[in-house]
């Protein structure tokens, strides 16, 4: 993955820029020592690393504004960072950039159950937000699998999803307002505790812009009352076509499960070996979860199992207890860990129309043979968001490159099938150079115009999202 060469003029200014930052930042908020900077050389896409020029960890919006004003003035690129859990390289620095981390912005500013909102500083982790309101019967709905570690800032930058978004939506559907600092230090308030925008929906534009339009320091989030209960049912089928048809029939029947998860045979086996969840040995497995009171759950699961039976499942197991529910989910939730035990893997994130599932899985199987690399599929089936895991051996020369080439082919297939390159991880550097597969030059131009408005000098996270050749002129200007 290519990154722009560092600009020597900026590297030469390092001491001066650091001196200006030192003037007002507490010692612990400015990291210049090389060994300490190294901790910020990558995010969860660990194949790519680069030590930044410096790291700043402000603890107020005002500090963020002063930092950005100085960097704007000195024309130093800034890479915003949440908790560094991006799988797409969203927080990968360049040598001539400063990492602006929000880790010290961790305060809860307001909780209001009557208005069903929480206002937080964005360094707070996703799970901590729910933790703050849980004992009062509320939760924050988006639940990316990194939720224990990932920061709200990163969730907003990547418009994070999760397993339950079929019912609750993704970050953009649960974000009501932000305080954001623009690259020139201007602080803007967008949205708040009210709904929708007075004029243009700039909040919707910010969410998912991968830290390229501003640094979000505070967020007002919608919180929801916890459902009375939830229960999964596990179904095994002898082909992924049949499992796909079953998903489609469930949706058509008017049931809205809170999650529908799909796993294929390689994934089922790995998870079973790892977690001993009691999964059947079959081609395709679905976990369907519904919510409500006991009686409501019974009513919905009755309908769902009735539909499933029409598809001759090899296994149909309604959870009978809290413990069994946990076990059913344990297998699914340990999918990534299980894979990691077997091999190195690369996790993809394309989305496809649910109706193309059988075709896409068949093609992935064929391509797996062509590339000589195994793939396991785990999938949010309700919304078509696929997570193929390509297994490779990082110690084997050429394997990573082969894996990346295979991954690119799968993502192209997703686009071809009517879907997209990334459903919830973001473009970052990982899918940057594939953007032209999904978008015409005019489409990319329209998006880049937005960055021109918010960050005319292209200093915020500049080498991400757009193919380098497409953004070159703007970055150089």
């Amino acid at each position: 993955m290519e990154m722009p060469a560092p600009n020597p003029a900026i590297l030469a200014k390092r001491d001066r820029v650091l001196a200006r930052l030192e003037e007002f930042l507490p010692t612990e908020a400015l990291i210049s020592d090389e060994a300490e900077r190294r901790a910020y050389e990558c995010d969860a896409l660990t194949a790519y690393r680069c030590v930044p020029m410096a790291v700043v960890l402000p603890s107020t919006t005002e500090e963020v504004a002063r930092i950005l004003r100085i960097c704007h003035d000195e024309r130093v690129p800034v890479v915003p960072r949440g908790s560094g859990t991006s799988l797409a390289g969203g927080a990968l620095p360049t040598e001539d950039s400063i990492i602006l981390g929000v880790a010290r912005l961790r305060d809860v500013l307001e909780v209001d159950y009557a208005d069903r909102i929480i206002r937080v500083q964005t360094g707070m982790t996703n799970l901590a937000v729910t933790g703050e309101v849980e004992s009062d019967g509320f939760f924050y709905a988006p639940d990316p699998s990194s939720q224990l570690a990932c920061a709200i800032a990163g969730n907003i930058a990547m418009n994070s999803g999760g397993a339950h978004c079929l019912k609750y939506g993704v970050t953009t559907n649960n974000l009501l307002g932000v305080t954001m600092v623009q690259m020139d230090g201007t602080v803007v308030e967008l949205g708040g505790a009210h709904l929708d925008a007075a004029g243009y929906d700039l909040l919707g534009l910010i969410c998912g812009s991968e830290g390229q339009l501003g640094v979000v320091t505070e967020a007002t989030l919608r919180i929801l009352p916890k459902p009375e209960g939830a229960r999964p049912v596990l179904m095994g089928f002898d082909s992924s076509e049949v499992a796909g048809a079953c998903v489609s029939d469930i949706i058509k029947a008017g049931v809205l499960p809170v999650a529908i998860e799909f796993m294929d045979r390689p994934c089922i086996r790995a998870c079973e070996d790892f977690a001993k969840a009691g999964y059947p040995d079959c081609e395709a497995l679905l976990i369907v979860e519904v919510e409500g009171s006991e009686a409501e759950i019974d009513e919905q699961l009755g309908l769902i199992t009735q539909i499933a039976r029409r598809h001759n499942p090899v296994e149909l197991r309604e959870s009978q207890s809290e413990e069994e529910s946990k076990k059913i989910w344990l297998g699914r939730k340990s999918a990534f860990g299980a894979m990691g035990q077997i091999n190195d893997y690369m996790c993809l994130d394309g989305t496809i129309p649910v109706s193309s599932l059988p075709f896409v899985l068949r093609r992935i199987g064929e391509m797996s043979k062509e590339f000589g690399l195994d793939v396991a599929n785990v999938f949010h089936a309700g919304d078509g968001n696929m997570h193929p895991l390509i297994l490779f051996d990082a110690n084997k020369p050429g394997d990573l490159e082969r894996c990346e080439a295979f991954g690119a082919e799968i993502l192209k297939l997703c686009v071809e099938a009517g879907g997209c390159l990334t459903g919830e991880h973001g473009v970052g550097i990982e899918k940057r150079d594939l953007m032209a597969v999904q978008f015409a030059p005019e489409d990319l131009e329209a998006q880049m115009r937005v960055k021109d408005v918010f960050d005319p000098q292209w200093l915020l996270n500049p080498a991400k999202v757009f193919p380098l050749d497409v953004s070159a002129a703007r970055r150089a200007a």
Binding site: G137, G208, A446
Partner: protein, 366 residues
Amino acid sequence: MRPLSEEELSEMVRSAQGPMVVRGGGTRAVGRPVAGEVLETRGLSGITLYEPGALTLVVQAGTPLAEVEAVLAKEGQRLPFEPMDMRALLGREGAPTVGGMVAANASGPRRVQAGACRDSLIGVRFVDGSGVIVKNGGRVMKNVTGYDLVKLMAGSWGTLGVLSECSFKLLPVPAAEATLVSAEVSPAEAVRLMSQALGTPFEVNGAARGADGRVALRIEGFAEQVSYRGAALRAALGGDWEVLERDASADLWRDIRDVRGFADQPGDVWRLSVRPSEAPDLVARAECPVVMDWGGGLIWALVAEGRDLRASLGAFKGYATLIRGSEATRAALPVFQPEAAPVAALAQGLRARFDPRGVLNPGLMG
């Protein structure tokens, strides 16, 4: 001008010599009056793709909304956000279109649970002010590939581009609905009841106080689910509640959605989006008949013609939009809430880049 294809639309915008008034069905005549040649999108009509099993619909922007709703109803599905029909309130004829609905980000009572139009909108194609065809989003509901211009287009009232095609995430129509209706209560008591109801796990998806001062709370789901939740909700809230079902419930929510109570009343109509807990105070300051929706988060206010409601409200977190007013009033008062300077600068910057010649509904949003 009435293009029959996206290419024709693109050509017409490209060759425009002056301002154009972008129009779908012409039923949402909101905004500062714009003079110019009318560009009507009704020639761009038809459903491109409908997959009930994937809950997705792709439709050309000029398609009448009624046509879309009929097709979805046959499969037991619907647009989740319950778009308002403005005809009665604004005294307009014509057929609302999909594009007009999106341009207005029109969302009804279910907004409080199912989100706004912008939340169900998953893809757009549009022609920008230079005549360039742009696509964004797609037909899948989970998509973070590039910037979300879909959201930007929703509620931009045709000032950044002319929509040619829209994709939506759909939801199934539940088997049953029921509405609990209270006696007449004060705005403060109404907000208290609505907040409490929306804070229960019973998935209340309509919470309004009608012009008559009665609070209505809606529940939808399977038949048994609805009766269970209705009973649980009544127990949680206490007090006496009348229960409406089927058509009686549906009619009540259509009237709330379309603000029918103000349709035949003289005067201007304002729409306020506010923090629910601040609503009672704002209603008191407005000193006029109101309909409250979204648990208090949406206030419809009926005021004397030409009155600047914002002047009585003072500063508040949220915004006020003049929805119905004479041309003179809409020219004299800002229709859309004036924004803070840095936000207004961003909006202006976007307008300058998406419509550099200022030909698309110029001035409509201020």
